[in-house]
Amino acid sequence: MRSENSRTLSVRVWRGRESGGFRIYEVPRLESQTVLDVVTYIQRSLDQTLSYRFACRVGVCGSCAMTVNGKARWTCRTHVAGVAQGDQIEIAPLANLPVIKDLVTDMSRFFDKWAQAKGQFYGTRTRADDFARVSPDSPQRQAIDAAIECIGCGVCYSSCDVVTWNSAYLGPAALNRAWTLVNDVRDTARVARLAAVAGDAGCHACHTHLSCTERCPKNLVPTASIAGLKRAVAAAALKGGI
């Protein structure tokens, strides 16, 4: 009977750009191994030409997001034992993003859409004004709290089929962030933001697949935020604001 230490993983890794192919590497299988450990082993010991991103290694930064066995995940927080099929894993770059090389994607469009959704705060208060008073118990602040922890890792965007089918679609992360700002009573750009997130490329294109929610490593619910935007936009449109 083979011991734990003598088992090997058969790892299919995407090499190339949009066109390319999967290459197979044999990696020693270890206890408590993460997928990031596997990728790191391959690059250091088997093939130095492999390109991939990581930073914190501890599930705080979101940089190591990749597609593992078809699902977008943080590889540093994905145990091999949890995803391996027998002794096999498949690792590919995040979907819905251009591939720069191997496991590295170009996230420019992801962040551009964040800006297009007006995912930034607009305020008019100055240091001469008193503090804004926002009760943590208010429904709006609770709505913000439920959605604010997004770190922009791209897993939801990568998992969304509407992003695939509709290249202009702003996507779950950008819309989720816009929702937190729509609920921010200090923000002064509410109407412009609602107009920015409305329409065929905005919140109305969401079909509640819930793939974003299924995959979010921070257990956020972008679908709920997008539903909130749908309600807010409808109300604004009925009042003539949009």
Binding site: V162, A198, G199, D200, H204, K230, A237, I242
Partner: protein, 112 residues
Amino acid sequence: MNIRAQVLLWTAQRISAAVLALCVLVHLVTMIYAVKHGLSAAEVLGRTRGNPGWAAFYALFVAAIAVHAPIGLRTILSEMLRWRGAALDLLVLAAGIALALWGWRAVWGVFV
């Protein structure tokens, strides 16, 4: 199509959906009733002919369908076939008009 029009299209889709939820519920009940009580033309028309209440109901049903189905088709065509623009909008508008006219014709035939 500008943003306001797109928002109104979505809103019309949801409002017609709510109307249809009620209409479909009634229709499912009437269909189960009809299947139990006879489906020959004489039996069907005997129940439906000269019935202004039901005629009005089914006329509303047809109107809601004529709004709801084309907007749904527009989404499917734009996502699955990557169609965009005025050609798609005109096509689904035509489908909506056709459904409305054909549907009201059927309502006339069955209820009047």
